[in-house]
């Protein structure tokens, strides 16, 4: 027995030894592997001036796709390799915010939505383009760019230095059903009162008028908290004379003014209009609004140009060819749409600013922008808006150009994300019936004041 036991033990010794050797090898492998995994994060980049490589952060969507295509064309034209990092909208902001703050220089160019610009620019995270323009013998962006779009690229707004160039020129449009307006002898709405009258008329008479035999609601809007509710409220808010900030709006930390009478009146009007909107619109986002419009169950709406192509496509739309696109109605003041442009900027930590700027100029030039426009992105240049080939393809271009030219930006504050969130919560609460318009605006004002106060410390 003992011998056997002993034998077993000594037998097991050999495999154990090789096991140990095996374990040691594995340990080494693990160590090497983890070193390899860590190395890419140490920021060793070989790029320098005249680099043959650029990296570009874009959003996933039709706007980013156009820029990706431009990057491929640029590659075959110049031989400069363009690496693309693509992220969904929300992640793009997170990535850029973190990367720019940490100044890693991971991206030579970034695509950004214009409300993010004040934040990046005020924290000095972007490259001033003036010296780069000078090197090219130019004084700044050319006059062909729409003024409202270029104003977004300056910090401070409209008057400061240029830190980006506009790539996609979205601004809201007023969508309405041409056929129903003709049927009830209604004119294209010039004011929000016209909109309300038309909504009432259509709502009363079209209880079974939709293509599916159901009700046609007079109006449909997005009042889900956040960006949705705020974007659909702003044109009403402004036209009633509402302003986010008071007389000191040019100061760095201005006082909010959303509890003034004009603002409360605007919210009351929105709630009134909501009586002719589908149930539950207080939770609607773009998808619900477009579903109603495409199904023919709503007659009017504020929407972004990106949706226009879907309305002329009979595959997607039950009302193809019946939708008109107009500029924003007014009220106490002229109607103005909210602008929402995609910009391209060079992070301050970029190590190939010259090469990046060359690409930036190339991608935003008229002939490249036309390609992007053909793919469905509204341009930011007058010459592209008036291009005959594009006009034939996009009959709404004249309305889009007029809308963009007199559009307004969201308040230019670095705290916009936070303010928009709070403002959206209270607009949504008022529309769902949880709060009165007065209460909602008073509470929103108090919360916005807190945000401003906190950031001024």
């Amino acid at each position: 027995m003992k011998i056997v036991e002993h034998g077993e033990r000594s037998d097991s010794k050999t495999p154990m030894k090789s096991n140990r050797r095996y374990a040691n090898t594995m340990l080494m492998l693990v160590a090497v592997a983890s070193l390899c995994a860590v190395l890419p994060f140490t920021g060793c980049k070989s790029a320098g001036p005249g680099a043959k490589q650029l990296s570009l952060a874009v959003n996933s969507g039709v706007e980013g796709d156009a820029l990706k295509q431009a990057a491929r064309d640029y590659e075959s034209l110049t031989g400069v390799r363009v690496n693309i990092a693509e992220f969904p909208y929300d992640n793009l902001f997170e990535k850029e915010q973190i990367d720019l703050t940490a100044a890693t220089g991971a991206y030579d160019l970034i695509m950004l939505d214009d409300p993010w610009f004040p934040r990046f620019a005020s924290e000095q995270l972007l490259t001033d383009l003036a010296p780069l323009f000078q090197k090219q013998g130019q004084t700044g962006p050319d006059e062909d760019f729409i003024r409202a779009s270029i104003a977004l690229c300056k910090h401070p707004y409209e008057t400061g230095a240029t830190f980006a160039l506009p790539y996609v020129g979205n601004s809201q449009l007023f969508f309405y059903r041409k056929d129903l307006f003709e049927k009830y002898n209604l004119k294209e709405p010039a004011t929000w009162d016209d909109v309300l009258t038309a909504a009432k008329t259509i709502d009363e008479h079209e209880r079974t008028g939709s293509p599916g035999g159901g009700r046609v609601y007079g109006y449909v809007m997005r009042a889900a908290r956040g960006n949705s509710a705020v974007a659909d409220f702003m044109p009403i808010f402004w036209s009633f004379g509402g302003e986010m900030f008071g007389e000191d709006h040019l100061r760095r930390f201005p006082q909010p003014a959303v509890n003034r009478k004009e603002a409360i009146d605007a919210l009351k009007f929105m709630i009134e209009l909501g009586k002719y909107a589908p149930n539950g619109y207080a939770s609607f986002n773009a998808s619900e609004v477009s579903a109603h419009l495409l199904q023919g169950t709503a007659a009017m709406s504020i929407n972004w140009p990106a949706w226009i192509s879907a309305f002329s496509d009979p595959e997607k739309s039950r009302v193809a060819g019946k939708m008109n696109f107009a500029v924003m109605p007014g009220a106490r003041t002229e109607g103005r749409a909210e602008i929402g442009n995609w910009l391209i900027a060079i992070p301050r930590a970029c190590r190939n600013a010259d090469a990046a700027f060359d690409f930036l100029l190339w991608a935003t030039a008229a002939d490249q922008m036309k390609k992007s426009a053909l793919a469905g992105n509204p341009p930011t240049r007058r010459s592209v808006f008036t291009d005959s080939e594009l006009l034939a393809k996009f009959p709404s271009y004249p309305a889009q150009l007029r809308s963009l030219e007199r559009s307004r930006p969201r308040p230019r504050t670095p705290q916009w994300n936070e303010i928009e969130n709070v403002f959206g919560i209270f607009i949504s609460r008022a529309n769902s019936g949880e709060l009165t318009a007065e209460d909602a605006m008073n509470q929103a004002n108090a919360e916005i004041a807190k945000i401003v106060e906190r950031n001024s410390r």
């Binding site: 340990l27 929300d90 589908p278 939770s283 969130n421 919560i425 949504s428 949880e434």
Partner: protein, 302 residues
């Protein structure tokens, strides 16, 4: 001879040394990963929660923690989180227990029921969110469509769009998805109970209720506590379904602490305040978990 002995001895010593070093070497990668991925971020989170401002402008202060007490949104989000957790946990537990007891018996088609019941749990919460978002749509959704078909007036049943019904709607979706988890854990617990106590109970002439109350429940208690513990931890940090279903709306009516933390960190870039909120959530989760574990230990000791 001596030399070779010494050689042997030193060889034995290195072998022994290697033997004592080996376990440490083997756990080293795990420890390294743990330090890199858990300990360091945790320390970093403590640091930023105690700072205001960022970069060179950063100052040490307790402002992030004092702000919590006066932040109406945080307090409301905390209340939603607790209502969500308590209601969902209660329903999931009762339904899960009922189903487990039912399907523990020899029923025809039992295995079919068992596997069908597990489907909701297998789905990613994001998919569940999208599916229910469509089903709960007041105009085009299947729920109101069915109700309309049955002659119910659905005018005011706007589910996720109604400030009154929204929280109940997201809780209902959670119950739908996670009752199967309770069921699974409790069923496993039931099947681990030996037959003898039941036989003894029958001999003693106990009724079905008495058997359930005095035999099944006490023996099932460890499984119950573990199921409750795991679900509570998950419920307190619920994020994905709500994010897809309502994004915390309408208004603020379904915002939970996790959503608020996410927004504060990644939308408003206020990482310090987000870290402070995370600690409060962590603390509360810990208190509840320790409570469960105490109960469990008491049970084992008894």
């Amino acid at each position: 001879m001596m030399r070779s002995l010494g050689k042997n001895r030193s060889h034995a010593a290195t072998v022994r040394g290697r033997e004592t070093a080996l376990p440490y070497l083997l756990i080293a990668p795990t420890v390294a990963v743990l330090v890199a991925l858990s300990i360091y971020p945790l320390i970093y989170a403590v640091r930023i929660s105690l700072q205001t401002g960022s970069g060179e402008a950063a100052r040490w202060s307790l402002a992030n923690f004092t702000r919590l007490a006066s932040d109406k949104f945080f307090i409301e989000a905390l209340a939603h989180t607790f209502i969500y957790a308590v209601v969902a946990l209660t329903f999931e537990f009762l339904l899960g227990l009922g189903l487990a007891v039912l399907l523990d018996r020899p029923l025809r088609g039992r295995s079919l029921f068992r596997s069908a019941l597990l489907i909701p749990m297998m789905l990613p919460p994001v998919v569940v969110g999208v599916v229910w978002r469509l089903m709960l749509n007041p105009d085009f959704g299947a729920i109101n469509g069915t109700l309309k078909g049955a002659g119910v007036n659905t005018e005011s049943l706007t589910w996720t769009a109604s400030p009154v019904l929204a929280l109940a709607s997201v809780i209902a979706v959670d119950i739908w998805q996670w009752t199967p988890f309770m069921f699974l854990v409790l069923l496993a617990g039931l099947q681990a109970i030996p037959q003898e106590p039941y036989e003894a109970a029958i001999v003693d002439g106990s009724t079905a209720w008495q058997t359930f109350r005095y035999v099944t429940l006490p023996l099932l208690k460890p499984a119950i506590l573990i199921a409750l513990l795991l679900r509570t931890m998950d419920l307190l940090r619920v994020f994905d379904q709500i994010f897809i279903l309502t994004e915390g709306g309408p208004g603020f009516s379904t915002e939970t602490v996790s959503l608020y933390i996410y927004r504060t960190a990644f939308r408003f870039s206020d990482f310090g305040y987000a870290a402070a909120m995370s600690f409060v959530l962590l603390l509360l989760t810990n208190i509840v978990s320790v409570g469960y574990i105490r109960l469990l230990q008491k049970q084992e000791a008894a």
